[in-house]
Symmetry: C2
């Protein structure tokens, strides 16, 4: 049987890795897939770069449409990224009857509904294991491995850049800005790190997982997104003293009223396995009603780890492309005619617990006022830590840090309480509020 | 489309869980699978117990062959266990053209070759996600999620009973016998715990993973199996002081000379995620050449976690049963005609590092003699810890514990060195030897 022929659009870091791994492990992969899989055509604006990677035997063009138009190509890999030309090309490839493999989380989180509908109508597959958590086969675990379960929640460290920064801030006691520069120097953060540090990349991935977990459409515009730029080494230290680590989590949770979809820094109990995921590594915790807690850990980015996921999709398509689409795994895990319209909840309706840090005047009665406001709002306190300002070094000894851990309450209620506390004359600086997840 | 009809052989803990989860999540599962899946017939010697679980609407018989003979049954689930009647029934179900789902690791590790050959000849599937690590979708990850990779090694905590015992021994400083009794009282260990504590159950699972990872036949008879019954709280304490935890690992490793397949207690660096897997939880680390290190964590046993895996197999079969077998995932990940004859290495050829504890006379020159023997054997030392016997409490102060960590060496060489050290008059007790894995 002749090898499956694959066309590659965009041969940068991941594209090169995909080409190299596919070539290096050709035999191993064919022994599994039962058929050869070959990248026979590559499109890249930088033809010289492409040629340098693929050598003389592969056709290199600078026009992606030539790949899509090639009747010998069975599968098109899109590794261009972004919502622009990538979207156009993916839709054109689908229209041309090609199966598509993409690592483009932004594209799927924003335009997934349109793309999957087009693919289903045309009877082709759009595979995207590489779009979430790099080499970790989390899409397959959610779509196939846990099909027996009613998924209750997912919480993941799904952005390596921010996890690297948070790990460095904690281990070295440095502030965000300093570590970001180091991360950029080491290549863990891009020159423009906005997508990573503002939580947008994580929100794209969380959006995709929420759809697969709960059978709802991708709704990136409904996701709450908060990054790590405002975190201080001080809060990380206080959290540690209280038995927690601060991680940027992508969270998708099923509640009777609807689905929570949010990305923000979270305190996580230090004893949880996911709290101990350090550096640029990723990990996703999935809670199912039958299986209980499961966790998936690995490299969330990088050339060959991401290539590992891209190629796994190529093998899946090689196996299933002749099967009728009813037999295939649905793009979003649930049959298109069985999607749910359960709403994504606004952040004000989210229920979680909180870490609050108040810089207050070191006077009698301050704690009473603050805790009084929480009590009036019906927010119960889990723990209080008071630190003389001089303990935290260098600052005015007439000031004190008041750290409060609360039990669960609805965000709207906390917002009201925060405004009231902020209005107290004895509260000297903007209150720091970080959400807390027990993940139990 | 009429629901897939499933026959269940043996409705104990896992069988009940499977029936209950399938019923409870019926809609959720159908929304994913695109078709209903129903257990319509159950065989159990205890018909009353079966009836109590399934209620009035399901056919209950005491003869498994009636299920196999039922032409309406598409899939047979075997949850009887063992190599005896279970093997006969699985082969009869295959012969009758039924797809089979089983959680029977012992059966597959010992008779897998015969069973998979029969299934391939008949064009039916034998699915066994539940046979390894319970609810963790590790079989799917290895067979499908990591197909791009040349798997280098697998190391797993794949027996919950022994991990619970080791966790208790460490946290409470108790010896094996005491904790075993507690585990039996709590239901974490069976009345006859031999299969668990002697490492046999873990070896069955490691054998299955070795086949899937490297494309070799299941060869349980070639596995090296050593349990945890000889471990002392003292060794766990010394290991901790040296920065290690002791875990019972199932290991399958690819070496140029062949494949290592072994189950034994292992020191693992405390900072590794897998070292922090406590209680009855399972975790498997997989090292692939492209993806790097990945880890999969969850409940390795229990009614509903195992049911989660059984049902995932039912859904896979529901999707693929009409597809021709060439399109299906091969039973052992590699196409039957592409299996490798790479040999399983004898334990003497295994390369690893070691923890040694010698109870020696507290005299000058003892350490010199011991390290001299290691030097002569070409075994280099990584660390030495000497503890006055009185530090470890209660024993003769003229004795000392000598703890040595070595670098990698071949097991045969270590055996020779051990014999020489044991022969020293100043070595007062049998030497404790525990293998050490850096898992880096």
């Amino acid at each position: 049987m002749k090898p499956i022929q694959v066309g590659l659009l965009g041969i940068g870091v991941v594209g090169s890795g995909t080409f190299n791994v596919l070539k290096r492990n050709q035999q191993e992969i064919q022994r599994r897939a039962g058929r050869g899989i070959e990248i026979t055509m590559v499109a890249d604006l930088d033809e010289a770069r492409a040629r340098a990677v693929v050598g003389p035997d592969v056709q290199v063009v600078n026009d992606a449409r030539k790949v899509i138009a090639n009747p010998d190509i069975d599968i098109v890999i899109e590794l261009i990224g972004g919502y622009g030309i990538a979207k156009t090309l993916v839709l054109e490839a689908i229209a041309a009857g090609k199966h598509v493999v993409t690592a483009n989380k932004a594209l799927l989180a924003v335009h997934g509904t349109e793309i999957f509908a087009a693919a289903s109508a045309k009877g082709v597959m759009v595979a995207f294991e590489a779009a979430v958590a790099g080499g970790i086969p989390i899409i397959k675990a959610l779509r196939e491995g846990l099909t027996a379960n009613r998924i209750e929640w997912i919480a993941g460290i799904i952005n390596g850049t921010t996890n690297f920064i948070l790990s460095e801030m904690r281990s070295k006691g440095l502030d965000f800005g300093v570590v970001l520069k180091e991360a950029q120097r080491l290549g863990y953060a891009e020159a423009d790190p906005t997508f990573d540090i503002e939580g947008i990349d994580a929100a794209h991935k969380a959006t995709i997982m929420s759809a697969i977990a709960f059978g709802v459409p991708v709704q990136f515009d409904k996701a709450y997104v908060e990054g790590i730029t405002k975190l201080s080494a001080q809060d990380i230290k206080y959290a540690e003293q209280l038995g927690y680590r601060i991680k940027l989590l992508g969270i998708a949770k099923r509640r009777p009223e609807g689905i929570e979809l949010r990305v923000h820094p979270s305190l996580v109990p230090s004893k949880r396995l996911i709290a101990n995921v350090e550096g640029a590594m990723n990990a996703v915790v999935v809670q199912g009603d039958a299986v209980g807690t499961t966790l998936y850990y690995g490299k969330g980015a990088g050339s060959e780890p991401t290539a590992s996921a891209v190629i796994a999709d190529l093998v899946d398509i090689t196996r299933l492309h002749t099967a009728d689409s009813a037999q295939r795994v649905p793009h979003l895990a649930f049959q298109p005619n069985a999607m749910s319209d359960t709403p994504i909840l606004p952040m004000a309706d989210v229920v979680t617990s909180y870490y609050l840090r108040l810089r207050v005047a070191d006077q009698a009665g301050v704690l009473a006022k603050v805790t009084g406001i929480l009590a009036e709002s019906g927010i119960s306190i889990d723990a209080v830590l008071q630190r003389e300002a001089d303990e935290v070094g260098g600052v005015d000894a007439t000031q004190t840090d008041l750290i409060i851990l609360t039990h669960d309450c609805v965000e709207a209620r906390m917002n009201v309480a925060l405004a009231a506390m902020q209005a107290l004359p004895t509260v000297l600086e903007p209150i720091t509020r970080i959400r807390k997840e027990e993940l139990a």
